[in-house]
């Protein structure tokens, strides 16, 4: 078994935490621009599939980047702005939940590591 800090699951959880942090910023940007005419909502994507990178090993996971892009969702308003505040708020809730989840996963793994270091019998 690999050591904890090199495990694919640890690295993937770390990547997801980075993703959630970046997505939070993008969602904040969308909400901040709710009244900017012509604004198109932004979204974050992985440059590569995380699941296939996990098969490829640690280096593949570390090499994944994120890209921020403008969506072309239909604007329901006359000013061309396509931010839907209800959607943004539900994405926000999902994103905070994901962030806590991955923070918990990382915390678990690190506490196992700590146990291995401190438990002497």
């Amino acid at each position: 078994m690999k050591e904890i800090l090199a495990q694919e699951s640890y690295l993937a959880a770390k990547k997801m935490l980075d993703y959630a942090a970046l997505r939070q910023k993008v969602l904040a940007h969308n909400v901040a621009n709710i009244n900017t005419p012509g604004f198109k909502r932004q979204e974050v994507a992985f440059t590569e599939e995380l699941s296939s990178a996990m098969d490829g090993g640690a280096d593949d996971i570390l090499n994944i980047d994120f890209k921020v892009f403008e969506t072309d969702d239909i604007a329901l308003r006359n000013d061309g702005n396509n931010v839907d505040i209800d959607k943004e708020m539900s994405f926000l809730a999902q994103n905070s939940f994901k962030f806590s989840m991955f923070a918990d996963i990382l915390g678990d793994k690190l506490s196992k590591l700590k146990q291995a270091i401190t438990q002497t019998t």
């Binding site: 910023k25 993008v26 932004q42 708020m89 806590s100 690190l110």
Partner: protein, 148 residues
């Protein structure tokens, strides 16, 4: 990717708060001046309007991150413009600012329009506050990593 993105998203929401508050101020100013017929530039008060503009991170800020795409940094008020729609003409010959025909030019402020804008601005403000709350809880959660 930049590691301060969660902290930076507080700034993004902050820019939203500040822009919406400016809008609220302008609306309050419009309502306060609904009957003002004398202004420094002469004539009646003209309704003010804020123009919002989105702020994107510039190239130098993007360089340190390997990320693609233009990361948003929030919103700002790009300018405050005067509404050029004609003034309301009200017949009131006794008014000191009435013209020869007895008509007074009252400001082109429409109270119901302002009320709608007011609600829209305060809802948008609340939405930004909700984002800040969520971000704060995430930041606190991240401090708990490795506590156990």
């Amino acid at each position: 990717m930049s590691d301060d993105s969660l902290l930076a998203s507080l700034n993004v929401s902050g820019s939203g708060l500040s822009a919406e508050r400016t809008r609220l101020n302008i609306i309050a100013n419009n309502m306060a001046n609904i009957n003002t017929t004398r202004t420094a530039e002469g004539g009646s008060y003209r309704r003010r309007q804020v123009v919002f503009e989105t702020v994107l991170a510039d190239a130098t800020e993007q360089l340190d991150s390997s990320m693609e795409g233009n990361l948003g940094k929030g919103v700002r008020v790009s300018e405050i413009v005067k509404d050029q729609t004609p003034f309301k003409k009200v017949y009131d010959p006794k008014h000191p600012d009435a013209d020869e025909a007895g008509y007074v030019s009252l400001p082109n402020v429409n109270i119901s329009e302002e009320m709608v804008d007011l609600i829209s601005a305060s809802r948008a403000y609340e939405a930004n506050v909700a984002v800040i709350k969520a971000t704060k809880s995430m930041l606190n959660k991240s401090l708990e990593i490795g506590r156990r």
